[in-house]
Symmetry: C2
DNA sequence: CATTTTTTCAGCCTCTGGACTGAGGGTGAA
DNA sequence: TTCACCCTCAGTCCAGAGGCTGAAAAAATG
């Protein structure tokens, strides 16, 4: 039985070292090499054609999701195991869509990581429990958020409300009459189940309904 | 010259392994051991009395900041180097206050980590540049946020505004007359430089002026 | 093509919000 | 004590907010 060819992708030297140490103690694993970025990963993967890649998501040059997509495009049998610290929705699902086979957190022990490698070559997936929660919730009949039944125009108005604009200002912003704005605001208030524009503005802010879509922490 | 006694604190096995590997290659460093949590760190530190501790901040049982404070209380000559992924204000400054001597990010290379250890025993500090930015901004003549000149009562009212309460509701919440509420609201609006209660509510929400003080991501 | 939803706008009515002015009681510092 | 600030409350006044009803043009849908 051939050894499993494994590659590491992570921009943290410390983490690469730790992972490498995990892998080198396994005699059924052939440690191929490591990459510091998504771009480097794609280059090396084309060169070495690894069986399994342990991939971080957040990196300087080219993130792990792009790299995953790129690598699988020319080497579709490669099993890519995401190994990262983050388990928020915005990271997990794009990674799955990109074709990742497993999703581990960096809290994983040596056994979990090497176990995931062996399972990957057998076609089995490993999902960290915290991530599994997210996925199950995604498939459960999720009650949709109140604002999801707003029309596109009502969303425009709600964004303005979130900026604290008055009806007059909104009408100028959207080039519509003040009466029309009032109608939209009334509909928004009833659809969101809130009492006044202030609560609607709070709702917009707490649910990230904003113009510039700037979201970070 | 005695070897430098170094201890590691991190709840990620992978990271501990990487850091350990950094340290074991240095013959002037005596690797004492490792801890998986802040509580364990304090216990081991009391036992081994290390010269330098490499400490993560975010851990399951007892965070790194508490541990730092605790360890320094009984072993004040210990140099504690924070080594974490985060560099937001809420993490950096409490760590410095707790008495940390250096602040590195996990993107640090082996040379940076071992270098910080050697500098620590000489009494020198190393601050990652991204963190240094934050610190410089903190010491720069910072224009104080508008809400810092609100009186305590006005802050109470502003929190209510942030919840979307009406004047009537605020008066009931705070057991004061509605006229009084109006006075406070007017003062708040002029101090914050906003036009109406809606903008005040947005301000409160975006600046984390809330009742429950619930902060997470 | 027929139907429904969305978007636009109107008039009417009520009430809250907020500006402005004024003022009495409490506390703490000069 | 005087001064300053904070908290409390009152009266007046008006523009804006929001509910209700109705309705026509536009766009999506079947």
């Amino acid at each position: 039985m051939d050894k499993i060819k494994v590659m590491i992708v992570d921009d943290h030297e410390m983490v690469r070292l730790g992972m490498k140490t995990y892998l080198l103690t396994e005699d059924r694993i052939d440690f191929l090499g490591e990459a510091k970025s998504g771009n480097e990963a794609a280059r090396l993967a084309k060169l070495y054609m690894p069986d399994v890649i342990l991939m971080d998501l957040l990196m300087e040059n080219g993130n792990g999701i792009e790299a995953t997509r790129k690598i699988l495009s020319f080497h579709p049998h490669c099993k890519i195991i995401i190994l990262t610290s983050y388990y928020d929705d915005e990271k997990v699902f794009p990674a799955i869509e990109a074709g990742a086979h497993s999703y581990l957190l960096k809290t994983a022990s040596a056994e979990e990581v090497t176990g995931a490698v062996y399972k990957a070559v057998k076609g089995e997936s490993v999902i960290a429990s915290k991530v599994a929660d997210k996925m199950l919730n995604r498939f459960r009949p999720q009650e949709k958020k109140p604002h999801e039944e707003l029309t596109t125009r009502e969303m425009d108005v709600l964004k303005c409300l979130g900026d604290g604009l008055t009806n007059q200002e909104i009408s100028e912003e959207l080039f519509i009459g003040i009466k029309t704005v009032k109608t939209h605001v009334s509909n928004i208030l009833s659809k969101l189940g809130v009492a006044d524009r202030t609560q609607a503005a709070i709702y917009a802010n707490r649910n990230g309904i904003l113009h510039k879509a700037g979201r970070k922490e």
